[in-house]
Each structure stands twice: as structure tokens, then as C-alpha cells.
Symmetry: C2
Subunit: 352 residues, 2 copies
């Protein structure tokens, strides 16, 4: 790797200011630029740097390539009282997903349950942001994304020797009381491609079970992935099965029909109003009691304590809001180069 200089540390507000300015300079309306910037910086705060400002360069390249339309506004293509198909019209995925989650929320508030499909979407960021949007309103939220087409695929099916699926992630969010939102957000592969990329840059192996080479043999050499290998599904046939379901749900909502090139991705959002079954406060108290029991389990060797899903993210947020967000050298170079090209005074914006 080239010498990228030192890593840098910024406050969330500084990164939001810079990132908002970049997206505006790239053609996004102010509110859109702010929304996407806030989404990315929140991912950094929560510890998910793979979904943070590292994405700015990629999104701007997509704008330049006209695959991302920075001022597109989502619309409802079809709907019933409990379902809707939302097109993002190839705008920022975050704009599409927020709009779709709000449609799901409104419908579920009326009808108790709603399913919304997103099509013509770009990268929607952390799925957990949209499931949590529903949970904060007192609903259970579920979000699934699938539908990448070759060559934009990364994962082998269980028992297979080549890529055909993607990381097809799942998220669930459930509001509780003292335990806040139980937040689940995972890829159906053992590891994200980003982690393989980091291992390759560092020249270190990946753990066993993450990869196969192009012959389908287990490998720990990150180069093997880039030479025709594939990511393996999490938990073997289980992660594979969830990944197939994610692809089929993207087809169900019509993402294949509305897709183009390798982006036939679609998202499936489910919203369920808890008080259709029992009062939210009563549910929250019962959920807290159960989570207390789980939390009280003594830690296994090598662990400090049992964490509830969502807890690692909340801890990261407290730390990073206090200490700032460390942006690795390569990420900072990409970010500042992107700003430079758009004629921005990057250092001034990042200092403001």
C-alpha cells in the first residue's frame, strides 16, 4: 500500500459538515446531503466503519457514473393498505430506505402490520438504521436486502465453489424499556468483503472459515478471494438459506424487473405494531425482565460480560461522541481527495 499519511480524529459534527458539503457539491439537495451524511457518520459512531464515511468516495463515483441520481425523490409505485412498492429512482439508498420505512410505519400504525418493498435503490447503508426507525416508534422492524447480480456477487452457496450470492443482510429491531432497542444487523456471510480487503492490505491471513479459493477449497489467504474465490455463508447451510430467502424477497418486491445491470437489489421491510398484541409498556417491562436474565449469565473465558444485541453499538456511540471518530489514513485520503475534486476547502470544513 502507498503511504497514506497518518490517521485523523474528528468529531461527528466535523465529519457531518464535511460530508454534507461533499454531497451538496456533488449535486445533492441540502436536506438529502445532510440525511446521507448523518447516516454515514452515525454508522461510524456506532462502530460500523464499513458503513461510514468510507462510502463517500464510492457514492460520489456513482454520481459521476450516473448510476446514483443525487436529487432523485422516492415514490410509491403501488400500494394496498398493508403493502407498498417504493422506487428510489436510483437516488441515495438512504433516502429510499428512510422514505420506505416511513411508509411502512404509517401503514402499520393504521393496519398493525405492513410490508414495504424498495426497488431501484442504491446502497441503503446500515439496515439497522431503518429497523431502528420503526422500533423507536414502538414497532418491531425487520429489514432484509438481496438481489445483487453477477459480477457484483461475493458469496458461494453452501457446498458450492463459486460466487453467486451477496452478503444479503438481515436486521431486526425491537423496542424494550431499560434495555433500549434490541438491534440485530448481520450479513449472511461469515465476514464482510471489507474485512477481507483490510486483511489483504495488512498482509495478514483471514480466519479459517471465511473464504474459499477459486477451486472451492478452504483458504485463509485474502488474495484468493480476489483471484476468483468466494465468501462463505455464516453457519453453512443456515446462512446460505437466509441468503437465498433474501434474494427471493428482492424478487418478490419486483427488484429484478426494476433493476439494471448488476443492481437488481431490493429491500423488504416489515413493520409490526406491538400494541396490536399487548400494550407497549407491558411488553417492554416483560422484555426487560427476560433480557436481565440473559445479561446475568456469567461470561465465558475471554469475555468480560454478556452483551444484548445493540449494546456494543450503544457503547461505541458513547465513546466516539466523547473521544471523536478515528478516520484511517486511506479513508481520509479518499475523503479529502473527493472533496478536493469538487473544489471544496476540505481542511476548513473538517475543522468547523
Amino acid at each position: 500500500m502507498a503511504d497514506d499519511g497518518p490517521s485523523r480524529r474528528f468529531s461527528a459534527a466535523q465529519l457531518r459538515t464535511l460530508t454534507t458539503a461533499i454531497f451538496q457539491a456533488a449535486g445533492a439537495p441540502p436536506a438529502t446531503a445532510e440525511l446521507v451524511a448523518s447516516s454515514l457518520v452515525t454508522a461510524n459512531l456506532l462502530g460500523h466503519d464499513s458503513h461510514g464515511v468510507i462510502r463517500v468516495q464510492e457514492y460520489c463515483e456513482e454520481i459521476a457514473a450516473k448510476t446514483l441520481v443525487p436529487d432523485a425523490r422516492p415514490t410509491v409505485l403501488a400500494e394496498t393498505p398493508t403493502t407498498a412498492t417504493v422506487s428510489g429512482h436510483w437516488g441515495f439508498g438512504q433516502v429510499t430506505a428512510r422514505y420506505g420505512a416511513e411508509v411502512a410505519l404509517r401503514k402499520a400504525q393504521e393496519a398493525n402490520v405492513a410490508v414495504v418493498g424498495l426497488v431501484q435503490q442504491n446502497h441503503i447503508g446500515r439496515l439497522g438504521e431503518w429497523s431502528a426507525l420503526l422500533a423507536r416508534a414502538g414497532l418491531v422492524g425487520m429489514v432484509v436486502t438481496g438481489g445483487w447480480r453477477p459480477p457484483a456477487v461475493s458469496a458461494a452457496p453452501f457446498g458450492g465453489a463459486a460466487r453467486i450470492l451477496s452478503t444479503n443482510p438481515y436486521s431486526f429491531a425491537i423496542p424494550t424499556g431499560r434495555h433500549d432497542i434490541v438491534l440485530v444487523d448481520f450479513a449472511t456471510t461469515v465476514s464482510a468483503e471489507g474485512k477481507v480487503r483490510v486483511a489483504r492490505a495488512k498482509g495478514v491471513p483471514v480466519p479459517p472459515g471465511v473464504l474459499i479459493d477459486k477451486q472451492g477449497r478452504p483458504s485463509t489467504n485474502p488474495d484468493d478471494y480476489y483471484e476468483g474465490g468466494a465468501l462463505l455463508p455464516a453457519a453453512g447451510h443456515k446462512g446460505y438459506a437466509l441468503s437465498v430467502v433474501a434474494d427471493l424477497l428482492s424478487i418478490l418486491v419486483g427488484a429484478d424487473v426494476h433493476g439494471r445491470d448488476w443492481n437488481c437489489t431490493g429491500s423488504f421491510l416489515l413493520a409490526l405494531k406491538i400494541d396490536a398484541f399487548r400494550p407497549l409498556a407491558e411488553f417492554a417491562a416483560a422484555a426487560d425482565r427476560r433480557l436481565d436474565e440473559v445479561k446475568a449469565v456469567p461470561p465465558a473465558p475471554g469475555f468480560a460480560e454478556v452483551l444484548i444485541p445493540g449494546e456494543p453499538e450503544r457503547r461505541s456511540q458513547v465513546e466516539r461522541e466523547r473521544d471523536g471518530i478515528v478516520v484511517p489514513a486511506a479513508t481520509w485520503q479518499a475523503l479529502s481527495r473527493t472533496g478536493d475534486r469538487l473544489g471544496l476547502d476540505v481542511e476548513r470544513l473538517a475543522a468547523s
Copy 2:
């Protein structure tokens, strides 16, 4: 282990006749006895012997202990156009689940989407039976079960050293065309307790990653599970997170309030009518094309081919309908003893 004699081979019809007679003799009405027998024998046909006639003794013991009411009829406790809470009134779980799936089907046919919660349920058998019931009617079906309470728990949380969760399974079923129903049905633990039991009986170790001992250390000794150890979640924090969601969904539907002793289990059924989004035939054709691509991936070393979720079960069914179902000696002894105690001529019934 004691000498249990030889294993036996029966046709599905023979096992259904015997099992139906046993449940009737134990107090189940004829239609109920047939339904539960058919459910168990179908699990055997599909290759899931852990959910097959091995359960007959356990169910009859539950009837004797009055925790299973063999003639109970499920009722709807509360409902809206899109949701319902169904009580099984402690009858056979299969009766509860079938009734609940039919309520979900009816509501989703009207409203496009429905969520049904099951409470006061006993073991509902294979979750895939109820998701597939929905898929056969042209809907997407999702079923999740959780809510076992100590001491009826088996699994450690991620990073924990003791049991607090159960195998909390998930099932998805999606109808396609040539590929039939894509059927997903898995425990959120690496392995079911039944497999540990089998390893212990054979005196062989379990694979690494399945178990921890009572200090929370990794173990391959099946005895360690029975001496205070625990099953590990599938894919670490991912399976753990799904397991927590399953428990919270059981609480959402009120299974804790309606539960008793350690059975606070509840099931969460989601039904979604595909043609709310696109015509079923069009979806099925698009799903087939995608599954063809997945199926066409060359096999990895050690595999003969890539299988679509649900395909292993359909193959087992063809084989076992042709060749019969092998009932291991211990299972046959338990089954025939159960029949004997109820005054049945087991050999005659199993030969009919």
C-alpha cells in the same frame, strides 16, 4: 446403553396407523390423532427424525402428566383484521400450529399480510410444516418459536458460560415454480440437543464449536453438556441475536403471560400474499431463474452438487416413500412400549 434389539423398517402408512392408534388410545380424538401422527411421520419422511415418531413417547408422557390436553381445541383469544392471538389451550402443538397457520392464511388472503401469535402451545413439531402450509397456498410463510424458561433451556448466549436460551428455531417457506417450495428451517444453535444425545450414546465426541462445558470452555465431550454445559449459538453473535429476537417475539405475542412453569413458549407466524406485490406465476418464474443460477454453481470439493433449501427434504421423501423409514432400535422400543402400556397390539398395527 442397553441392548435395544435391531432397528426396524416401516412404510409411512404403517407408522401413521400405529401412531394414530397410540394417540387415540391416549385420549386424542380421531382427527387429532391422525393429524399429529401424520405430522410426525412426515418429519421422518423428510429426513428429520428428531421431529418424527421419536416424539410419541414424550407426547404420551405429557398427556399422562396432564401438561398436554389431547382433546383441547385452539381458539382465537384476540384479533384484528391483520393479527390474531391463538391459544392452543395446551393441546398438541401441531393442532395449535395448524389452526394458527390457517388463521394467518385466511387473514393474509383478505389483508395481504397477517401475523398470528400462538400461546399455550406444546411442541409444534417441524416449523417448516406450518410455513410450507402457507407457501402451498401461494404465500410467503415465516415461523419463529421461542420462550422456553429455565430449567428447560439449552443454549448459552454469545460470550456466556451458562444456559439461558433454547434452540429457538426459524423457518421461511416461499413457493416457486419448478423448484417447488424453498424451505428453510433451522435452530439458532449450531446443533440440536438430540445430536449431542446421539453422540453420547455412541461414545463419540461432537464436532468443535457445538458445546461449552459448565465453565464456559469449548468442549467436544457430549457428557459436558449434561454436566452443566450448554449448546453454542450458530455463527456466534448472529445465531445468538436471532435467538434473543425469537424470545422477544414470544413475549410480544403474550406467551409469557399465558405460560406455565418452564413452558412460556410462543410462536410467531407471518403470512404474506405474494400477489400483493406481483402475480404469483410471474414471481415463480423469476424465482426459478434465480434458483437455476444458484443450482448451476459447481460443487466445492466434498460436495456432489449445490442444493436449494428444501431440496434435501424432498429427496429424502422420495427415498423413504419408496424404501420405507428405518426406525432405530431405541426409538422402536420406546414407541412399542408406549403402545403396549396403552393396551395396543403394536405388532399388528405396525404391520397393517
